[in-house]
Symmetry: C2
Subunit: 247 residues, 2 copies
């Protein structure tokens, strides 16, 4: 009844996920990261319920889950809203990311294995292709972002610490919000690619210190690019004090 819309292939066990909560959770997450829902925007249950054609409880649980990702903030008796963004938060986030990303990378390298390196090479190559394509095809941004995420995941993947990886991923997701906000069209692609390459090579060479230092720079610069670019957008931030319309 409810999933009649995407029915059709009997063999396929559900495209996105079995449970409605989960698919709504994912969709909302996407919208928040993509900036479709703006920071501090109110997320009214009734409104979303109607949009998704599900019951309020379902939306409610999806929102509660988003709270774990710190993408949504709940206030008692005042419902849910998109977690705010600010330059201060970006600064903070970047600092924390550097700690986790670099630690995880060092750890990865110190446990280096054939298998990990193979995967890292693959991720790097895909990213390289995506970065080349991006030079003349601005529409492939989506793909690039995915490859970028996979590459950074791959760098950390070999760390034995699930906790480091888990927390790292949480922060990375947060940083994606900021990256989207500042449509980083103006970024000098070449530089970013050079940074990725340098990190990759240091990692493959098992030079943990060098790799970590390069990664530190990389994360830091990316944040700077966002900050500068978002200088324009900051107006938007300040403007959001006047509570953006929810409808």
């Amino acid at each position: 009844m409810m999933d009649a819309d995407r029915a059709g292939s009997p063999d396929q066990t559900e495209t996105s996920s079995g449970t409605a909560i989960d698919s709504i959770y994912r969709e909302l997450r996407r919208r928040i990261i993509d900036g479709i829902y703006l920071p501090e925007q109110k997320l009214k249950i009734e409104h979303l319920r109607a949009g998704f054609q599900v019951s309020s409880s379902t939306v409610r649980e999806a929102l509660t889950r988003l709270t774990s990702d710190h993408l949504v903030t709940a206030e008692e008796h005042r419902g849910f809203r998109v977690t705010p963004m600010s330059m201060a938060d970006l600064e903070d986030l970047t600092q924390a990311r550097i700690v986790l990303e670099c630690t995880a990378l060092r750890d990865s390298i110190s446990h280096a294995t054939e298998d990990w390196e193979r995967k890292l090479v693959r991720a790097y190559q895909r990213l390289t292709r995506a970065e080349n394509r991006l030079l003349h095809d601005a529409a492939s941004f989506e793909t690039w972002e995915e490859c970028n995420r996979d590459f950074h995941d791959a760098l950390a993947a070999n760390s034995h610490s699930m906790w480091l990886k888990r927390l790292r991923q949480l922060l990375f997701q947060q940083s994606e919000r900021y990256r989207r906000l500042s449509s980083l069209v103006a970024t000098s692609r070449a530089e970013v690619h050079a940074e990725h390459m340098a990190i990759f090579e240091a990692a493959i060479a098992h030079d943990a210190e060098r790799a970590a230092a390069l990664l530190l720079d990389h994360v830091w610069r990316a944040a700077n690019v966002i900050r500068d670019n978002a200088a324009l957008r900051e107006a938007l931030e300040k403007g959001s004090k006047r509570r953006p319309c929810s409808k």
Copy 2:
């Protein structure tokens, strides 16, 4: 402001919370950390609902929230259960904690202010008292744990990075689970107190490197104590493979 839930107000942080979900959330969290609910134990909604005299939705949301703390794990169509514990996880957790605790402490010291130091002194003094009391009053363990938490919170409190503090707190909470599991009766109290004192003095002296190094040792040793003590309990862990009865 918004996360004042477990802040250092010793007077009243209580059940009187406006919403039912929240009070059940807290109670469940307490039970899990205290080990009343064992690792991997199934948390059946219907059973809890009856116990708390509330509706299933309420319990469900409380459980979903616990997922953020990684105290509860949800599997699709298979409900919720207490997140497993293992020696491997303790190892991992300790490593990650060291990174965050030490970074936060360094950061705290580098921004040192009068006010912070005052608060740190107070927390240290309370902890000292609690540790003395603990020598002849084993029942005051509860209090000690609270003071210990406050002291470590205070060490990190002056860091400007909300993210570091947030993640640090998450991991600290996790470590409390392990501390409880191994009723650390046998711990040589004197040593622990000496470690606390040394960290405190280095922090007050603004010797960030020394303080961080001492804290590293402290966290590491605490984990070792737990591991050794829990060697006995490990049987329990292995035994849990045979899924503990959920009633």
